[in-house]
Amino acid sequence: MIEFTFWDIVRNLLLAARWTVLLSLAAFIGGGIVGLVVLFFRIAKNKWSRRVASGYIALFQGTPLLMQLFLMFFGLPMLGLRIEPWTAAVLGLTFFASAYLAEIWRSGVAALPLGQWDAGASLGLHYLQELRLIILPQAFSITRAPTVGFLVQLIKSTALTSIIGFEELVRTSNAINNATFEPFKVYGLVALIFFVMCFPLTQYARKLEKRAMAH
């Protein structure tokens, strides 16, 4: 049997935390890109495009993330793709994040006065220019706090990818716990590492929210 000192445990957990960070970033960026596409459909003039986008968002917000990850993990191989936990984790969290981010940004678009669209049109801008130059910058800026808040939720959600076998912080901690039989210490440390990652972001989101309220 291998002996683990306290520092061995901490070191292994910190090494595993890199994957948690990497997965969070990949899913946030991927989710942002796909979310932007969903947002375009969600605010389009065509009624059916809006309906499809609402359905997409409702589907991801109305089912457990764990199920979404399972469907990704078992579903993609059926399409003939060879899939590993990392791929399933990134794709699963990307689609999950895209639905939430699209909904957050849509609320920003909806909060803008309609005069902004009219003003854009009267300057001779076409639809895409209006979005790019007038609507989206403002929508992103007023939804910065909930966007950062969602990033915190996304970081916490990466814990679920341990269940489909991705070697991030929680899966590593399970393995260490099985070797050391010190669950109180191991899971306590894991909670602490997540807290250190999430708390500054939570505070930042709170600051943004206060600043937005002051306006």
Partner: protein, 218 residues
């Protein structure tokens, strides 16, 4: 895709769904109660209690539910507190939900105008009566939509308690796919069951809330 296994699995899925509903029902009651106490304590309690509640909220909100669950189920026994899986799941879900709903209930309490308390006190009601009969009902009415969303979110998050072998809907799905070798189809069916349950739960909460708390609840 093959669904020939489905007729034989309906019983298992229904049993799992019933356990999930039981878990969320108990959590809703206990979590709401705890968050009313927490929100009131955070406003009117002694300084130490206020600080403790603030830390509790921050710690829960900044760590994953799965880690909280493992800490309670695997970690607490080393302190001599051994819980069976269902109790551990309910405890973890309640503590998790309360951290979010304490803030929600607190916002509701702040939204009730101070004049309401003053008027009630002037009528000769005692502090506790003022809180329970005057302030709380008005606060709950304001925050009800947010509370309902949080309950639905918790129901969806409860899927992870399958990891400590609570026999709820996800656990039954895991067992079924191991037996049928139809993983994708099994999880697809169970995902749709979750979708229906979350839509039904939201509908139920909105109608129930409107009936109990009065009109204006959306």
């Amino acid at each position: 895709m093959a669904f020939a296994w489905l007729p034989g699995a309906v019983g298992d899925i229904a049993r799992g769904a019933a356990t999930t509903i039981l878990l969320i029902a108990v959590t809703t009651l206990a979590g709401t109660f705890l968050s009313i106490l927490g929100a009131a304590g955070r406003r009117n309690g002694p300084v130490l209690l206020k600080r403790a509640i603030a830390w509790y909220v921050e710690i829960i909100r900044n760590t994953p539910f799965l880690v909280q669950l493992f800490f309670i189920f695997f970690g607490l026994p080393s302190l001599g507190i051994r819980l069976d899986p269902v109790l551990a799941a309910i405890l973890a879900m309640t503590l998790n939900m309360a951290a979010y709903t304490i803030e929600i209930v607190g916002a509701g309490l702040d939204a009730v105008p101070g004049g309401q308390t003053e008027a009630a006190l002037a009528l000769g009601l005692r502090q506790r009566q003022v809180f329970i009969k005057i302030v709380l009902p008005q606060a709950l009415k304001v925050i009800f939509p947010a509370l309902a969303s949080q309950i639905v979110i918790m129901m969806l998050e409860s899927a992870v308690v399958s990891q400590i072998a609570v026999r709820e809907l996800t656990y039954e799905a895991d067992m079924l796919q191991a037996r049928t070798f139809r993983s994708f189809e099994t999880y697809l069916v169970v995902t749709m069951v979750y979708l229906l349950m979350s839509m039904a739960l939201r509908r139920l909460l909105v109608t129930g809330g409107r009936r109990v708390l009065g009109a204006g609840v959306s």
